[in-house]
Subunit: 373 residues, 2 copies
């Protein structure tokens, strides 16, 4: 049997038990969000009557502004997609169309990113995350694209402003397209400096995938944005129109409402919520079990005890009804490295995180006894 990809594991998880596997936002809506939800019929009527172009632009504007990305609205082109993965698929297919195959790709990261790009014929070279984050990595000669997830999934590591500027200059000088997946930036203020200002100042060609889908419990009513520099010379718009005419204006209005609420305090509330859930996990497992103390994103890595592996641990936890992700598949070029960690989702009701954390604690305690025996 072939190894399951991360989404297949998530698919099992959403179907049973305590699901802390997928990175979707499954917490309760806040009271402000519930107010928006109570007005859905009005949003439907509004979406049916207003200009789709305006609704699209307003949603893009509200979301990008809420996350500090003002310059995207003046400097870049934006295409609204069904999801960040559809945006990535469009990017991959567009790169294929201009034979830009050699992609230097952050390692580790969520497996569907390398899988999607390989599926359209890209040749990937892994670049260690720590060398991307500190600017020490060497990109192979002939690199067409540098692709980086920031904040990275599952580690929460962020490209700082200075290091992004460094890579943007490298890409500008060498004619490399800089690709970023910033799906988790909403959780971490250190990833909310205006990336588009940095990119514009370096003058590099870039494509950024922004995502509303990880932040809010909108039941996967979400969009992914393809944000790209003018003169990119990659046919994104053509491939985009092969796949879609546009996203539902109803979803766009909902995104706008949630983004405006985020800007008006909802984002701070979300940060507190995730921090509380992270503290619940830490209270059960101890700081030593959490290898990413600086991470602010809505998933957390947990160290696998000596003598076990992520694959075994996640299978054992699944038997007790708790679904997590093994980190093996994140380490797409060196799966064994990922056996030291599992990933726990924090975008859940606190009771769910608490129960999952207690189960994991029991597993760790038992593993500890086995080792001592």
């Amino acid at each position: 049997m072939t190894e399951l990809n991360l989404t297949e594991l998530e698919w099992l998880a959403v179907r049973a038990g305590i699901n802390v596997a997928d990175g979707h936002a499954r917490q309760e809506p806040t009271s402000a969000q519930q107010k928006i939800i109570s007005r859905l019929p009005d949003l439907f009527v509004q979406a049916a009557t207003e200009s789709e172009a305006m609704i699209d632009r307003d949603a893009q504007s509200a979301f990008l502004s809420a996350l500090g990305q003002q310059r995207a609205l003046t400097d870049a082109e934006v295409l609204t997609c069904y999801s960040s993965s559809v945006a990535l698929e469009i990017l991959g297919r567009s790169l294929l169309a201009v034979a830009a195959r050699r992609v230097a790709m952050i390692h580790p990261t969520f497996d569907n990113i390398p899988d999607l790009l390989r599926g359209v014929g890209a040749q990937l070279v892994p670049i260690p995350e720590e060398q991307l984050v500190d600017g020490s990595a060497r990109l192979p000669t002939g690199t067409d694209v540098l692709f980086c997830t920031t904040p990275n999934n599952p580690t929460g590591k962020v490209l700082s402003r200075d290091v992004l500027a460094y890579w943007a200059h490298v890409c500008a000088r060498r004619g490399i397209v800089l690709g970023l997946d910033t799906s988790f930036r909403g959780f971490d203020v250190s990833a909310q400096y205006d990336h588009y200002k940095v990119l514009a100042e370096a003058g590099c060609r870039y494509v950024v995938i922004e995502d509303t889908g990880k932040l809010w419990p909108t039941l996967d009513l979400k969009v992914g944005l393809l944000v790209f520099s003018r003169h990119l010379a990659v046919p994104l718009r053509r491939v985009y129109t092969d796949i879609l005419l546009g996203v539902s204006p109803f979803i766009l209005l909902l995104v706008r409402q949630f983004a405006e609420d985020a800007a008006a305090g909802g984002l701070k509330e979300l940060h507190r919520f995730v921090a509380n859930n992270r503290a619940l996990l830490r209270n059960h497992l101890g700081t030593a079990a959490l290898p990413d103390p600086a991470s602010r994103i809505s998933v957390a890595r947990v160290a696998v005890p000596v003598g076990s592996s992520a694959t075994t641990m996640s299978r054992e936890l699944r038997r007790t009804g708790v679904h997590v992700l093994p980190c093996r598949q994140f380490h797409w070029a060196a799966p064994e490295e990922g056996e030291h960690y599992i990933r726990v989702a924090l975008g859940r009701r606190p009771e769910v995180v608490d129960e999952a954390a207690a189960t994991i604690r029991d597993f760790l305690a038992q593993a500890d006894r086995s080792v001592r025996r």
Copy 2:
């Protein structure tokens, strides 16, 4: 400048003027549909609390049953996608993964179907629609896939039960995968015999793309279904999970509600509505201008007058604020053949269709005067 694809032309149309370009359902909701819309907040709560797997299955079941496709639910596997085009993209990428490149493709058809498949490396051979519909076509040696849109867009031509059985047997005998896009079947009862019974009896490998997106004015809250035979030996599920975990349960509940309403009389009401809009067009333009008298789908071809072309006519109409599609791009292997027709969308408020038809009538009258002069 490169020629615009049909979706790019539709993109222009949704942004201004009288838009009878895209095939989306832009009519007013019926009173039964409005009742569903008024309950959207309840659907949101329901979607957040019930099992996603059940919601998914119930939506598939309600939709496929409403359109007469009961055997899909017992004989086939079903994957719910964001849209029919995303379903097609997944199919194309999965075929690429097993090097099934040689596709015999119906001609004409909506251009994003050949464009998507070519974009992932397929080699297309055009098969004239009339020879598919009467079963007289010859498929080239080495054909991996036969792909047919039924009812076809823009002509409304349908594969009858007997002819589908014929092609299914040909495909079974020659090891060809039979691909169908049935996005418009909801409009035409002659396309609502149980295709999956026919396919199962022939024993061929098949993939059918079903679509909720053309039928109802749900503001593009829709799904596309990938319905495929077991033992297909094409990795649809793997590519699917690279692109999505699932569709919003909120959208799935909405689809289910609309499908149940369709089964309870909504579909008949829709057929009357489209027939009335088609009659409006005919009243203005005369039967001679409408080349597809048997078509029941929500778009209609209109003949371009002698001395003009679809490209010219659609450009002239655009100047008067009426957006239609030239049929040139539907004829993906012989664009000149498509210059004889434009396509007018009928999924609009009757006033919109009436105004568009009156403008087209004036254009035809003027062209007639020019010819006589």
